[in-house]
Symmetry: C2
Subunit: 517 residues, 2 copies
């Protein structure tokens, strides 16, 4: 029932007969599910009165306290022209102005993939899933915890390509720390463009690197196509509280000017970058997003943007950020309501956890986050798989563990089928009191699609499981990582395009010395 765009088996047997059928059965099927289109309601934790209070307070924050646009005279000029009160770097925005400016941002947009069957619709009732972003370390059971390299990065892109329930290749799936800081974005983009055919993200660490990202897309898609279509969704973090730094804003300006999408996202560890209360944090989040999205529209009216909210709580004993907690859930649900009232696509949640290992703690915290992400109406879920240790680590095993759970979100989002087949009255009549459904016609007709089935987890009888080595989830996941990487086949690409991309990367790399900060 999932609408899937499936690549044809690529090792198709050349001859007919039994050998061909055996080959068919063992051929690798690389499938990507269509993004989730929810047929379920959202969970709304705030009532109308609470929403109005938060919206009122956010406008008060913008009007009375204001936000700082740092080292960015052009931004200040934009704001002054729009009617804001600008004193030094402080921008105070009259009540209602930011919301009015936000109105020109689209409520939904398409991010086009180079394989058009994998393009995604961001906004509305949809949910697009993308992998973990940003960890400087990787971990697996064999190699332990170590600094991430470009080889690790490529493995994660391949795993993402092979993961059916992942719609998006992501961005910095881990930091390739063996490549110079000022050049690694080129290698990362080249990997996403050539090792996968799913949509991906651009660089935000310097405005020039954002421009490189657009330039590489010009090669991949064609210049006019990029101007007419959104082919990048990139992550612009706000320096909470209430601060917009020049680097991130510079990257945002590049993307907005080129009609490319940006997630405008407060980055909040509760109690440190925002008040310790849920309502206070939501107020600040809304104020920050209003200011950031409004600014994107000052740069280019109609530029596609996403209401972002990255929010964790904090362990007041150790100062460590904590994940999968009830307060983070409150905020995620509440921010979803605020985003919908603004008419903007919403980014939040992910496979968040604080655990050092892909163990039970990791899974409790992750499942809490994934479930709230689905029910809170998130449209773009970054970090949907692979996140470990508060985002310091990208875990190979956890990547496939989480990616498997994402399949369950797809099934849940379908809602309940109420047609005659769903009602199953004939089955109940056929079986009757004391009977058994396994053999009945309705079960036979439906059993293949009736229940979501994990591709990873253990459903074996105890004795079989024990005979096969009593493996835990991490071990099963390690085997699956090997299997997926072994089965990986690179998606086809016009060799001339690949060559042009490579030439761009080489030329850029030779144009400047390595920098490691």
């Amino acid at each position: 029932m999932t609408q899937a765009s499936s690549a044809a088996p690529t090792r198709r047997a050349r001859s007919g007969g039994g050998a061909a059928r055996r080959a068919e059965r063992t051929a690798v099927r690389i499938e990507t599910a269509r993004f989730i289109e929810r047929n379920i309601p959202n969970f709304e934790v705030l009532n109308e009165e609470a929403l109005q209070i938060i919206e009122h307070n956010a406008e008060t924050v913008l009007e009375e306290i204001g936000v700082n646009f740092v080292e960015n005279p052009a931004a200040l000029a934009h704001w002054r022209e729009a009617g804001a009160d600008v004193q030094g770097e402080r921008v105070r925005i009259p009540r209602g102005l930011a919301r009015k400016l936000c109105a020109t941002a689209p409520s939904q947009f398409t991010q086009v993939a180079r394989n058009p069957s994998k393009s995604v619709e961001i906004g509305g009732r949809n949910l697009v899933l993308a992998p973990v972003y940003g960890p400087p370390f990787v971990r697996d059971a064999e190699g332990g915890r170590r600094y991430a390299t470009m080889a690790d990065f490529e493995k994660f892109v391949k795993l993402g390509y092979m993961s059916k329930w992942l719609h998006h290749s992501g961005g910095t799936v881990c930091e390739p720390t063996d490549i110079a800081v000022n050049k690694r974005h080129l290698d990362m983009l080249f990997a996403h463009m050539t090792l996968s055919d799913k949509p991906f993200m651009g660089s935000v660490t310097e405005p020039s690197r954002a421009q490189d990202s657009v330039d590489m897309c010009n090669i991949l898609f064609g210049e006019q196509f990029v101007q007419d279509n959104t082919v990048l969704t990139s992550l612009i973090n706000i320096n909470s509280p209430l601060t917009f730094d020049a680097t991130m804003m510079g990257a945002l300006e590049v993307y907005a000017r080129n009609n490319q999408a940006a997630i405008i996202s407060p980055f909040i560890v509760g109690g440190a970058m925002a008040p310790v209360t849920v309502a206070g944090t939501l107020t600040q989040v809304l104020a920050e997003v209003l200011a950031g999205v409004a600014y994107s529209q000052l740069v280019r009216q109609g530029a596609p943007v996403i209401f972002g909210a990255f929010v964790t709580s904090i362990d007041m004993n150790s100062g460590a950020p904590t994940f999968g907690t009830p307060e983070a859930s409150h905020i995620t649900y509440g921010a979803g309501q605020l985003a919908r009232r603004l008419g903007l696509p919403y980014r939040s949640a992910g496979s968040f956890c604080g655990s050092k290992l892909p163990d039970a703690q990791a899974a409790y915290e992750t499942a809490n986050s994934l479930n709230m992400g689905l029910l809170s109406g998130v449209n773009f879920m970054l970090h949907a798989c692979g996140w470990l240790e508060g985002g310091l680590v990208a875990s190979f095993e956890k990547f496939v563990m989480d990616a498997d759970q994402l399949g369950a979100l797809h099934s849940f989002a379908k809602g309940v089928f109420m047609d005659d087949n769903g009602q199953a009255m004939d089955a109940i009549r056929e079986v009757g009191p004391g009977g058994h459904y396994l053999g009945c016609a309705h079960t036979q007709a439906n059993f293949k699609e009736a229940f979501w089935r994990s591709d990873l987890l253990d459903y074996k009888p105890y004795e079989t499981w024990a005979d096969q080595g009593s493996r835990d989830t991490q071990e099963l996941a390690g085997a699956r990582v090997k299997k997926l990487l072994g089965d990986y086949q690179q998606p086809q690409m016009d060799p001339a395009v690949r060559e042009a991309l490579l030439a761009f990367v080489e030329q850029k790399k030779h144009s400047m010395p390595d920098a490691f900060a």
Copy 2:
């Protein structure tokens, strides 16, 4: 902010000064949280039309197909008298009759505990949490998987007593397989009554054992008190599809006649005991509960009952039941809506998983189930901690892991505070753009209560965690099990009552030979 009934520290130091303060700090605090009173909405997966279709179809099932009351002539007579069409053991219930009979069941009732501060309100917006029920095996890392004994049972009762977020001591927390089948209920009840002071469940494996449960409560609470108050909530499974066996109905009759509560609960592995579709399963569940609850009211009008739904999906490859799956979630959400429309308290969900180990699979599946249990409006959650391997195993480590997660449900259920302190506008004003909240007055005033904090999970910096042995969740949980059992202190009880209970158990045990089936 949690309303907690805390037993006074029992090792209170006798002298003042520094020694007393040190003793105070190290004294064991045994706390029990008040049952959850939700201040959040329910998640409703079915729309009005779907609900009406299911309700209509359930009446059709009762009217056309009917249910079997097996080996129970008295029940058939009750039904005939009430206006049902009885042919052999088949009872066909005219449209509307069962629902009308259900109307006399209370929508909420109090289950009184022997410590009255631990009595629970079942129904309404409340959620009462009780531990796992029924596993023949136990597991811990040290001893592996083994048949459960009475010594294990007592350990679980002690852990339940020591677990702050568990409101209820449960029933058969594991099967004490070293005690004769016809006598173990006596030892189990004695353990719940003497090792804990939380509410508990009665035996249902024979009507005579249900009577023993009531008789022991007569000793503990007084005969008249038991007639006037509900002091037992017991689990009556329906033999799905559509079959009510004499043993379970016999136990139900004992409890209903004595004003004691029963969970009337279809036990369904989807695709085996009910149709493979969600709507079909909900139809059957509703028909079964309608018939079962109606029957309870024929036995005694006003008897307290709970709308139960134990539902899993099935792995069509292995035939194994599966847990934490999206289809089970659909059913749990939908059944909650049906229960509320009937005006009955609702029992479902739990710490369900299929995993053999308390690993990531166990935690993903469990978190999926616990979250849906909270949001689906469950009023009584049996199996809320300790469930492993499809319910075959009670896990010591998972008991404390799950019990810790139940704390997060309490915090989430509080909803979002919208008072001035919650809005935190003064804090946002004080800190301003680029500031830091850790030191601000609002944070200082709120940080102790602001965020839920696990008592188990690891929040340490990586290096500290590594230095301390790189322990995973199972190891942390194993240490916590030992700590809780080491800290355990038996709640006080009138020695005469204890003696009378013991005398009853001894007398009953001597009155019959051991039976092991």
